[in-house]
């Protein structure tokens, strides 16, 4: 194996083992959104009826899975991944590695891949179990769905990396991560669906990364094209996050 590989196999295996040894991360990223989707979808009859304010779509087919996918991605992008990176920086793990032939950026790449795979897995499980248990149809516009999913993930991970870059220590990254996650979930429509938001809040939501991502997911799950505004907003936040992360990320 070339020691300077961007994705060294042994490093990836080791990081996966460590990831699985923290069951809380996989619970919050995979178990919780999946359970919420199934429980809320089964328990609330209105979610299974066509809703007038959602253009006649069933919330269980569009809004609910959209929000749960958002929850899963935000959990890994704002909480699990940034705190792992900051703890590694804080404890000198990255610095120690920088004296070996492996490049510290490999750790970052491996972390990104593991967390991205986690949210892909969570999403796949939600689509499959939603289909089997709640009779949620699979996304018909699958390519559009995948495209929105990837763009939204890049956006959220970009912001998460920027957070890891500027946070001075792991306590800060954990509390700031949680502190921005909940308002962003709210703007995404988690507790107040966007069609019910007052006009001014809807505008704020439109320009927030989660509002744009949440609506785009709901659109493609309901077989509508996402709006260009929301795609543009996501591209903007993705670029802002990645530029900030590249500018300020420190290995030690």
């Amino acid at each position: 194996m070339p020691a300077t590989a961007l994705f060294p196999r042994r490093l990836a295996i080791t990081e996966i083992k460590l990831y699985l040894r923290e069951p809380l991360a996989t619970f919050f990223a995979i178990g919780l959104p999946l359970a919420l989707l199934l429980i809320l979808g089964a328990a609330i009859p209105d979610f299974r009826e066509p809703a007038a304010d959602m253009g006649g779509a069933r919330p269980v087919d569009t809004h609910l899975p959209g929000m749960m996918i958002l929850l899963s991605i935000l959990t890994v992008a704002f909480s699990v991944m940034p705190s792992a990176l900051v703890i590694y920086r804080e404890r000198g793990v990255l610095r120690r590695m920088s004296t070996t032939p492996v490049r510290p950026i490999s750790v970052l790449t491996v972390q990104l891949v593991i967390n991205a795979v986690t949210s892909i897995l969570a999403t796949a499980l939600m689509l499959i179990f939603g289909h089997l248990i709640l009779e949620v149809p699979y996304p018909r516009m699958f390519l559009a769905f995948a495209g929105v999913f990837v763009l939204g993930s890049v956006t959220m991970f970009g912001i998460g990396l920027a957070l890891a870059a500027v946070a001075p220590n792991s306590r800060v990254v954990q509390s700031v991560g949680a502190g921005i996650m909940f308002p962003l979930l709210f703007l995404g429509g988690m507790w107040l669906p966007r069609p019910l938001m007052p006009e001014w809040l809807l505008v704020v939501s439109d320009y927030s990364p989660t509002g744009a991502f949440g609506q785009a997911l709901t659109d493609v799950l309901g077989n509508h094209a996402p709006s260009l505004l929301h795609l543009g907003v996501m591209v903007f936040w993705a670029a802002a996050g990645i530029v900030a992360a590249t500018r300020w990320f420190r290995w030690e």
């Binding site: 194996m1 020691a3 060294p8 196999r9 042994r10 490093l11 080791t14 083992k17 460590l18 040894r21 923290e22 703890i87 590694y88 404890r91 000198g92 793990v93 610095r95 120690r96 590695m97 920088s98 004296t99 070996t100 032939p101 492996v102």
Partner: protein, 287 residues
């Protein structure tokens, strides 16, 4: 062969000068100590050698591939809590093209591969850190303050380990502020104080430089004024009936010959130690 040469190393962080002027050369196969008290610039010096920091000016030449052939043990570096000892070594071994066997190394440092990092004692963490520095089969091992915080037993075990490393032909660059460690391990040392290398010598050579600091201590009721005139004597300090005479290596003979028999009691001598030598050289003690 000189495997590491450092010439006129100077390192500044903003306005703060960490290293003013440090020069030394390390011979292949020796244990070379960098001694000085905390804040003297020892760690900055070796971190420049290891390529972790860029010198402000000066030259550093290391005759080895910095990443592949230099193993580094740093202060304040830990591993993920749930990473097991064996996994850590296999992981680090995978970074190198020609690694040592993790199993052999673990046997050598006496660690159980199944224990997670969080459950290791301070001494075990240091031994793991040394094993990680050696897992790439390096030509040079840089070890920074590796026995700080260890109990005397663990420290002795670590010293044995470093001697075995040297027997394998590895050049060791050792940062320390323990004079006992220097005397036990180092072939040569650079004494660093306030960012300057004040001397580069063998431990015995440093002691020889401090000649004139052997001490003879005894009790007497009589006068010792005549001692001050002796050529072997550098100083005489009298506290009540306790007399401390400092001088060169022949001071004991001179004192005994000069004073009438029966006038002195409780006589003992103290040879110049490396601590004395360090004190004389730098004007302060190492710790």
């Amino acid at each position: 062969m000189e495997i590491i040469t450092v010439e006129n190393l100077h390192k500044r962080y903003g306005d703060k000068v960490a290293i003013t002027d440090v020069s030394f050369a390390v011979e292949e196969g020796e244990i070379f100590g960098i001694v000085g008290r905390n804040g003297a610039g020892k760690t900055t010096t070796v971190e420049c050698v290891a390529g972790l920091r860029t010198p402000t000016s000066g030259t550093i030449n290391v005759v080895a591939d910095l990443k592949q052939q230099v193993g580094v043990q740093l202060q304040d570096c830990s591993l993920p809590d749930k990473l097991r000892v064996g996994e850590a070594l296999s992981l680090y071994a995978s970074f190198y093209t020609n690694p040592a066997s993790p199993t052999d190394l673990l046997a050598e440092v006496g660690l159980d591969p199944r224990v997670p990092f969080a459950k290791l004692s301070g001494g075990q963490r240091q031994r793991l850190s040394i094993a990680l520095a050696l897992v790439g089969n390096p030509r040079i091992a840089i070890l920074d303050e590796l026995t700080t915080g260890l109990d005397p037993m663990a420290r002795r075990e670590t010293w044995d380990l470093i001697e075995r490393i040297k027997e394998r032909g590895v050049t060791v660059l050792l940062v320390t502020h323990f004079m006992e460690e220097v005397e036990r391990l180092c072939d040569r040392v650079a004494v660093i104080s306030e960012g300057r290398a004040l001397a580069v010598d063998t431990p015995a050579g440093l002691i020889a430089r401090a000649e004139g600091s052997d001490r003879v201590i005894f009790r007497t009721t009589g006068s010792v004024e005549l001692l001050k005139a002796l050529p072997e004597v550098a100083s005489v300090v009298i506290e009540g009936d306790l007399v401390t005479v400092t001088g060169n290596a022949n001071v004991l003979h001179a004192v005994v010959a000069a004073l009438p028999a029966g006038r002195i009691a409780d006589l003992r001598t103290e040879r110049t130690t490396l601590d004395d030598a360090f004190l004389i050289l730098t004007g302060h003690s190492a710790v």
